[in-house]
Amino acid sequence: MENARKRMNMKIQFPAMTFREIDGPLTHELVREPGRFGLGQVPVNRRPVAIAKSICGFCSTGCGLKIHLDEKGQAINLTADTDYPVNLGMACPKGWESLTPLSAPDRAVAPLLDGKEVDWDTALQVFCRKFEAIMDQHGRESVAFLSTGQIMTEEMAFLGALAKFGMGMIHGDGNTRQCMATAAMAYKESFGFDAPPYTYADFEESDVLVFIGANPCIAHPIMWQRVERNHHSPEIIVIDPRKTETAMAATQHLAIKPKADLTLFYCLANWLVAHDSLNQDFIKAHTSGFEAFQEFVKDYAPEKYLLELGLSEKQFDKFANSIAAGKRISFWWTMGVNQGHQATRTAQAIINIALMTGNIGRPGTGANSITGQCNAMGSRLFSNTTNLIGGHDFTNALHRAKVAGALNIPVERIPDKPSLAYDQIIQGIEDGKIKGLWMIATNAAHSWINQKRFKEAAKKLDFFVVQDMYSTTETAQLAHLILPAGGWGEKEGTFINSERRIGVSHKVSRAPGQALADFHIFRLIAEYWGCGPMFRAWTSPEAVFQLLKEVSRGQPCEITGIEDYAMIEHSGGIQWPLVQKSEVRSQKPEQERRLFEDGGFFTDDGKARFVFEAPCAPPEMPDDEFPFVLLTGRGSSTQWHTQSRTGKSAILRKLHTSQLQIDLHPLDAKNLGVRDREKVRVSSRRGSITAESRLTATVQRGQVFLPMHDAAVNQLTLSVFDPVSRQPSYKHCAVRIEAAG
């Protein structure tokens, strides 16, 4: 009876008294008409009256979008921006569906105190009273905040300044710890500043591209678009244990053993030294510490390590010869590198290869970290968490004085010690030292490694505030107080993308109920906390942007040359740095700029450093009890992190598997007696979950893969952190698989 039931809700049309109804109301619904604004045809029921431009709020690619507005200025549709230099009129499915999550039924529409709706005044009073009480009793270090890479630069700057300078907190970190801390630390140590050197044009200019632990085909499809536009018939080398979409598209795939990348690059360095394939001029002029590195890699003769790497001699030689022969080699890495037990050293092993071959500062080159979240780069520079705002150092008195001056705040308000890292904050909660937590736009109860620890820690908190678009996230459900936030599209501000490009996003949709932009929430908290006067100048995102320009003065990330948002928009986004020049004003900066073109780095001596350390085995190797290595990663291009937003779009949901599936090698499955699409139990020492088997030889024997978007997956992962960057190692732990019929 399903059709009969469906018909109850639908309109039955009366027929015309002709044999054929070529046209009519149903046909008319799908008519397309010229949309003006250079758009081409658009659906007749969604013709825009005006257009606004914004930068996408999902990933760090930072695509330009054109938002189609109705007469009230409300967004009704969107298309990708043809003229924006990042994406050339393209967007991935998440970008196309940016507006859908805004109208989800589970939006937080009022502050919720212990599950009951309260007004903003009550919520803010409770917020201040509770945190104040904890800090009065247990000191400034007893309260912490966890920020995000998903809000605007001006907002995260406000949050960091408010929490640390205004409210007096010492500890605050961001979810960027989970994705980019490694790259930031690696660059800082090697280049003297957290400075990804590239511009997206480099994808098109290289003759050799090396992707390490990166699957841009689905994780950054619009960057892959640029690779496809490379007209130099490039050698594309993918280093990944799995035959990913990107590995399929590569000319060489090195399916190394998980976490063998550090050794691989030391072997490559050894080979390059042995084959005299070095750029001695560059090494001498622009680097320091090469002799020690050369000495160190003497032990890494490739032939000794082939078994450990999981490669044949032929594969390694072909790879090494490609690097030796390449004229413009670019190295690109993401989470496969950043999330490891020796992540920072691995990233630096890649940087070392770029340095010793002189592949940096020229078109098509670079040791390039591809960032994750839309504003991870903003967070790295301006969130006032690990670094003092603007890429400064909390322990440096000169820096504190400079920032205090630029922001017009008393210097003694600036803590002189750095914050604890994310995992140390969680540890602090477990140890009872941290009793109050304020979490903004992130979902730790889903995403934190060995999730159970976070969930249990959260229960120990005296006061836990979650500020989010949705009251339904796994984390919001644990909170005492939920502050309803406006999302992307409901506020304005800037993002900084992977290639250091600053772009502006606008308010194009009305926030539901009492939800407020994070920026407004911070203004209110400043007022209620009693530190309003300190933030008198922080009246709008653009006003804060002007302050951040001042803060950046003299730093490698200086942006004093950017006048205002309008200049950013007219220029198609602006990459940092852009230093103010007195003589020329309002000139459009070049659209694609890379760092280190003059060979000068940001270290004290201007030279890049070779940093290295001996590899060690991952802490939890497979054994008889847990014989498989569990790899995790992105499942599809239509899913974003914990799915709090992408899960709200019916069309995106349709484009990924409806159940959690575990990739398992068919021959391993045979041994386990597991058939394709059967329920299996996946257990680690931390937890046990069920998933559906998907048999595919794209994973190697002895390895299994789970997409990270399902809340169950981080019940299995192991709390291991890179000692340098404190970034969690999501991509290696031991599990057992059993048929669960």
Partner: protein, 484 residues
């Protein structure tokens, strides 16, 4: 106190500011106000659409370069947004092919309507709601002509037409016809970041290997002659299979059709073995009820009067016309105005049309050798069993007939044609209980028939209804590779 008031008024002013709209557009709309002759995006898709129109013997076709299709799925969302479709609606879909046990291989497959040379959807439509455009070859669905019978969904071996619940009709890809005629690229072509989808002009010509499927695991292309070309520098391995092959989708039950089929077949049987006027009138009533039930299946029943239009090609159109004749024939027979042979022939003709409706879809589970015995079997079995209620001498025949029918149905599971594997999986997997219940009811009916024909008849009828539900639910459709 003043501070407190200030705080509260700040809340109010920020809430007011939050709800103020229209600030974003004011700044930028003037940049774009000019009506451009050519859409901005055309600079990136100009080479992906033909410069000229198709000539005689040619048509437009999608060409997908698999080397460049790397799994981003932007085409699906762009189709959804640029065509103003419903929340979960898109006319393009993306699935996945995986390699065999020893081949690390994966390939995403994007597909929309293949705008076939010989479109099965159009051939099956009883009301001619499809039109193959003479100039472009685009297979267009006429939304206002559609009666929502869903037969095109059963006919299309690529799972293209989709039923739209809200509207009670089917909708599908029209290759963005209006865009192409304005020199613009279809939504999916415009939106592919790697230019993997193009529109090309192809010739109608006898293929060198017409029976080869578009991709491994699909139906042989000679059924509809799809025009989409999948090109690749590395051919798709023959052993590759859809990622969802091991978990076929359980199909819809189509309850009104179950009722219609069983009752019209019972009606024919009751007439053929009519012993008395009770059987005659029961036959008529069953025919009426069955045909009535079929109306519940339609999304736009008021438009169904055009159902004869497709009679030249559509077995559904023919079935409806046969039913149209059967109801008065059964009535005439009940009134003794029409002889048995005439009512019987009309009844059997409509059963034959019913068989052909399903055989013509080419679903392996609905092949003639399985469907004809089911439908004619139901006719005879229910007819004889009903007669046994009045004359016990029919009971043995009914029991024997029931055994034969059950035996034949169970033989399906022993078919080793790989095309039958998906239906096997459904019968032994998600439909296991239903399948079991069908055989138990059948066997119970047979044994009861010998002692208590009325109880046996009720049981056998129930068994036939279960059999027909399984008939629909286990009929694994041909489709493009899926995701999950």
């Amino acid at each position: 106190m003043a501070a407190l008031e200030h705080r509260e008024s700040l809340i109010d002013s920020l809430l007011a500011e939050q709800s103020k709209m229209g600030t974003a557009a004011a700044c930028f709309s003037e940049w774009h106000d000019s009506d451009q002759a050519e859409p901005l995006q055309s600079r990136y898709y100009r080479n992906l659409i033909p410069f000229k129109k198709p000539e005689r013997g040619e048509q437009y076709a999608f060409e997908v370069n698999l080397d460049q299709c790397t799994g981003c799925k932007a085409c699906v969302t762009a189709c959804h947004s640029l065509n103003g479709l419903d929340d979960n609606e898109s006319w393009r879909d993306v699935g996945l092919l995986l390699g065999d046990d020893y081949t690390p291989y994966q390939q995403t497959i994007t597909s929309a309507c293949h705008h076939c040379e010989d479109p099965a959807c159009a051939n099956g439509c009883p009301v001619l709601a499809y039109e193959k455009d003479a100039d472009t070859g685009i297979v267009r669905h006429l939304d206002d002509q559609c009666i929502g019978c869903s037969y095109c969904i059963l006919k299309c071996p690529y799972d293209v037409p989709k039923y739209n619940n809200k509207r009670g009709i089917v909708r599908k890809c029209d290759m963005c016809q209006s865009r192409l005629s304005a020199g613009e690229a279809p939504a999916c072509v415009q939106a592919c970041p790697t230019s993997a989808i193009a529109i090309r002009i192809v010739e109608f010509e006898p293929r060198t290997n017409p029976s080869r499927p578009l991709l491994p695991g699909l139906i042989a292309s000679d059924y509809t002659r799809p025009t989409t070309r999948y090109i690749s520098s590395n051919p798709v391995p023959d052993t590759a299979d859809a990622a969802d092959a091991a978990k076929p989708r359980t199909e819809q039950a189509h309850t009104p059709l179950v009722v219609m089929l069983v009752l019209t077949q019972f009606a024919t049987g009751a007439i053929l073995f009519a012993q008395n006027s009770v059987m005659r009138w029961t036959g008529f009533m069953a025919a009426l009820l069955g045909i009535g039930a079929s109306v519940l299946h339609l999304g736009q029943p008021l438009k169904a009067w055009r159902c004869f239009l497709g009679w030249r090609k559509s077995w559904l159109s023919r079935e409806i016309m046969a039913f149209g004749a059967f109801a008065p024939a059964a009535f005439g027979f009940a009134l003794n105005l029409i002889p048995l042979w005439l009512a019987g022939v009309v009844g059997l003709t409509s059963v034959f049309c019913s068989v052909m409706v399903y055989v013509d879809t080419r679903r392996p589970f609905w092949a003639a050798r399985w469907t004809a015995p089911r439908f004619f079997g139901t006719t005879l079995l229910t007819g004889v069993a009903f007669a046994a209620c009045f004359d016990a001498s029919f009971a043995t025949v009914a029991a024997i007939h029931g055994m034969v029918k059950l035996g034949w149905e169970s033989l399906y599971l022993s078919s080793d044609d790989p095309r039958d594997h998906r239906s096997h999986r459904l019968l032994l997997g998600p439909l296991r209980e239903l399948h079991f219940a069908r055989f138990i009811t059948g066997l119970l009916g047979i044994s009861l028939m010998l002692s208590s024909p009325i109880a046996g008849f009720i049981c056998l009828m129930t068994g036939e209804f279960l059999e027909r539900i399984i008939f629909f639910r286990a009929a694994a459709a041909w489709k493009m590779p899926g995701n999950a």
